[in-house]
């Protein structure tokens, strides 16, 4: 196994290459474009045997991806943000086709206002669709997770498409050391796609994705998709176990960092969670009993893993890099609902929304969030949710507003 400095996008391209994806429907969008450019170059140079086709929109791209998977080939695709949303109708549709494939989403904030910088609102919008989702914190994890994702998606107990999410800029354009597994080893871990009987061919005509009339049919099909998704946690653990055996790297549905006897915890997903690891190290050095929980699998929701990991924890700072307008942070909302089953022993949750549109989160902010979580645990009461945002930042916005003459509210006559 050789190691290289690769960007997250480069690691994603390697994941698709090693998985021997046959078909790559593509459409460019910042910050994922480098993935398809890399794959296109490899194909043009004869290094990769696959067909890459640029569709004219992400809606069409996702349709083509699902249709090809429903026909019986291994499919890879990638998108971000506005593109993911443009294809949203088909995200739901192809999940219902039970078409297994891997879609890499390079997370980027959503308009309005338009931005190129990362946050997690785009991937959060897919959570009800039937796609599974797995979040990566490092470039190595991106490559590894793509390989595991195919195994999970194609498993007969699941047969659902999977989104592998990585942060724009902080992972997509950032180089880190990545061990690139040898092809023969990947082939051992991931055999060729076996579509079973679900494919198109002349000798076995099938009408796929037919409409239904009647609620009993609809409820059945929709709920079966849900049951299949719920099975994916067990399938993930099996795949991760096999992965660890062959490649020596272990992944859990929820990563636990320094959670031994932890009284407090950060809960965070994605690449910024490594900053939380750093904060955990500093706080531990300063005498805190604090750790980090990093859910990797968010759909299906790893409720059992989270409840188990939070046993004995008194205060939690949940850090959302997203906002459900009118409600608050999605991770927080879902965790609070899951914790309802813990009864009186459950930790107090403090909700923080930060990193929107790529905003950085400083170490001092982590230490302050830990303090807030501690105070909340002592009081037994959660504080109101907080947007991580400073005086300095507001001054900057005021300056921009002045230029835009936003203060001049009078109507022109």
């Amino acid at each position: 196994m050789k190691g290289k400095l690769l960007t997250g996008n480069g690691a994603a391209a390697w994941g698709a290459r090693l998985a021997r994806a046959d078909y790559i429907p593509a459409f460019p969008i910042t910050p994922q474009t480098e993935i398809i450019e890399t794959l296109a170059a490899w194909i043009d140079e004869g290094q990769v045997e696959a067909r890459l086709v640029t569709l004219e929109s992400e809606h069409s791209m996702i349709t083509a991806a699902g249709a090809a998977a429903a026909t019986g080939v291994r499919v890879f695709s990638a998108t971000s943000s506005q593109g993911l949303l443009y294809g949203m109708e088909m995200i739901y549709t192809v999940a219902g086709w039970r078409a297994p494939f891997v879609l890499v989403n390079v997370s980027r904030g959503l308009a309005t206002p338009l931005t190129l910088e990362p946050d997690h609102n785009d991937i959060m919008a897919t959570r009800d669709s039937g796609f599974l989702q797995i979040h990566c914190a490092t470039c190595q994890e991106v490559l590894d997770t793509i390989l595991m994702a195919y195994r999970i998606a194609e498993d007969k107990r699941v047969r659902l498409p999977v989104i592998v999410n990585l942060d724009g800029f902080y992972l997509s354009f950032t180089r880190e050391p990545v061990a690139i597994p040898a092809e023969e080893e990947v082939d051992r871990f991931l055999p060729p796609f076996d579509p079973g009987n679900i494919r198109f061919r002349a000798s076995a005509p099938v009408s796929q994705a037919s409409a239904v009339l009647g609620a009993a049919s609809y409820s059945y099909f929709r709920y079966e998709t849900h049951l299949a998704a719920m099975q994916a946690l067990a399938v993930h653990d099996e795949a991760a176990g096999a992965f660890a055996e062959i490649f020596g790297r272990s992944y859990e549905a929820v990563e636990r960092y320094r959670m031994e006897e932890a009284e407090f915890a950060f809960v965070m997903i994605g690449s910024f969670a490594t900053k939380a690891k750093d904060a955990v190290d500093r706080l531990r050095a300063a005498g805190w009993k604090i750790g980090l929980l990093r859910p990797r699998v968010l759909r299906p929701y790893p409720k059992g893993h989270l409840l188990k990991a939070l046993a004995g924890v008194r205060g939690v700072a949940v850090i959302d890099q997203n906002i459900s307008v009118g409600r608050g942070g999605v991770l927080h909302t879902e965790l609070a609902a899951a914790l309802a089953d813990m009864g009186g022993r459950r930790p107090v949750l403090a909700s923080f929304m930060g990193g929107l549109g790529g905003r950085d989160i400083s170490p001092q902010e982590f230490y302050e969030m830990a303090s807030v979580a501690k105070k909340a645990a002592e009081k037994g009461e959660a504080p109101p949710p907080r947007l991580l945002y400073t005086e300095t930042e507001l001054r900057e916005v005021r300056r921009l507003q002045a230029i835009a003459r936003a203060d001049q509210m009078e109507e022109r006559r």
């Binding site: 809606h59 349709t63 026909t71 019986g72 109708e89 549709t93 099938v206």
Partner: protein, 310 residues
């Protein structure tokens, strides 16, 4: 003409392949034309469908197809076709599927998708040289939702969203020319009421590869407001009045396969349909009628000028 297997009506297949028991309206001109098309497509096909009346051909667990079917969404049937076609090609290239298992990929949509929402996906598919046949059953409106006007609605037609005294104020979009401008392999207009012409064109389309398009005018009893039994006759009138030119685009040229020499006045076609009733009653709307006639006249004048041999 000598290359066709369909010289006379007796050369047409004597049994239809498509199953009975579908939910299309009695007298559906689209289904009637599609019967003739599916007869020649056969069961080694996969029909990729966009939202419209014919989505209801296959309602779980009932399907009329002997071949395969994939329902996609309204805007992206050509992209679905792209995915299936590419996947079949990949499977054959990689020897994971023998060529006998290959399928013809056929897109089937109404005018709503073809003239409007699906135009982007269509344009992309032609541009990529996708090997597929696109069949559009054109009933000149969004039929499945109650016949609201679409890009295919003709001037003056009453629809659920154009109930004013003059009917629809727009003009029917020229989808034939839009396709032809992309330089595809084949484009043709067809109609179920002319089954021999239709069969020849399907035959021709099947012999070619690349993007091919058949626009099937589909007289629609509930949408156009006429008695179902008149469905074929109204189709014949569409051709005989020159309103629906039967033509094909191939090798960069447009050829008319049927030229109505003594064209009937368009009102012979219009007056049979309730959707144009307001042009005749309570008062004749000569302005709109003359407009429609003038457009049809101008079209055929142009055809005559381009090919005087006709």
């Amino acid at each position: 003409m000598s290359e066709t297997a369909f010289k006379r009506m007796k050369d047409l297949p004597s049994a239809h392949l498509l199953g009975t028991g579908t939910a299309m309206c009695p007298g559906c001109g689209g289904l009637q034309g599609f019967q003739g098309i599916y007869d020649l497509l056969g069961e080694k096909s996969v029909v990729v469908n966009a939202a419209g009346c014919m989505t209801l051909l296959s309602i779980y667990p009932f399907t009329p197809f002997r071949g395969s079917w994939l329902y996609t969404a309204m805007a992206s049937a050509p992209a679905g076709a792209q995915g299936v076609r590419d996947a079949l090609d990949i499977l054959m290239e990689k020897k994971k599927m023998p060529p006998e298992e290959n399928l013809d990929v056929v897109v089937l949509t109404g005018d709503g998708a073809a003239y409007g929402m699906g135009l982007s996906a269509t344009s992309g598919a032609i541009e990529r040289g996708l090997d597929f046949l696109y069949v559009c059953y054109d009933n000149e409106g969004y039929g499945n939702t109650g016949q609201q006007y679409s890009g295919a609605t003709p001037h003056g037609a009453r629809t659920a969203t154009s109930k004013g005294p003059e009917g629809y104020r727009g003009q029917k979009k020229d989808l034939f020319s839009i396709w032809a401008a992309h330089s595809p392999s084949y484009v043709a207009t067809v109609i179920g009421a002319e089954p021999l012409d239709l069969a020849r064109k399907v035959e021709k389309a099947r012999k070619l590869a690349g993007p091919r398009f058949l626009i099937l005018l589909a007289p629609c009893p509930p949408g156009w407001d006429f008695d179902p039994k008149e469905s074929v006759e109204i189709g014949q009138l569409a051709v005989r009045t020159g309103v629906w030119p039967l033509k094909e685009y191939v090798n960069g040229e447009i050829v008319h396969t049927k030229v109505p020499y003594s064209r009937l006045p368009v009102e012979e076609y219009l007056k049979r349909q309730g959707r144009f009733h307001h042009l005749f009653s309570p008062k004749r709307n000569d302005e709109v009628l003359n407009e429609v006639q003038a457009r049809v006249d101008a079209y055929w004048q142009g055809v005559k000028e381009k090919s005087p041999v006709h």
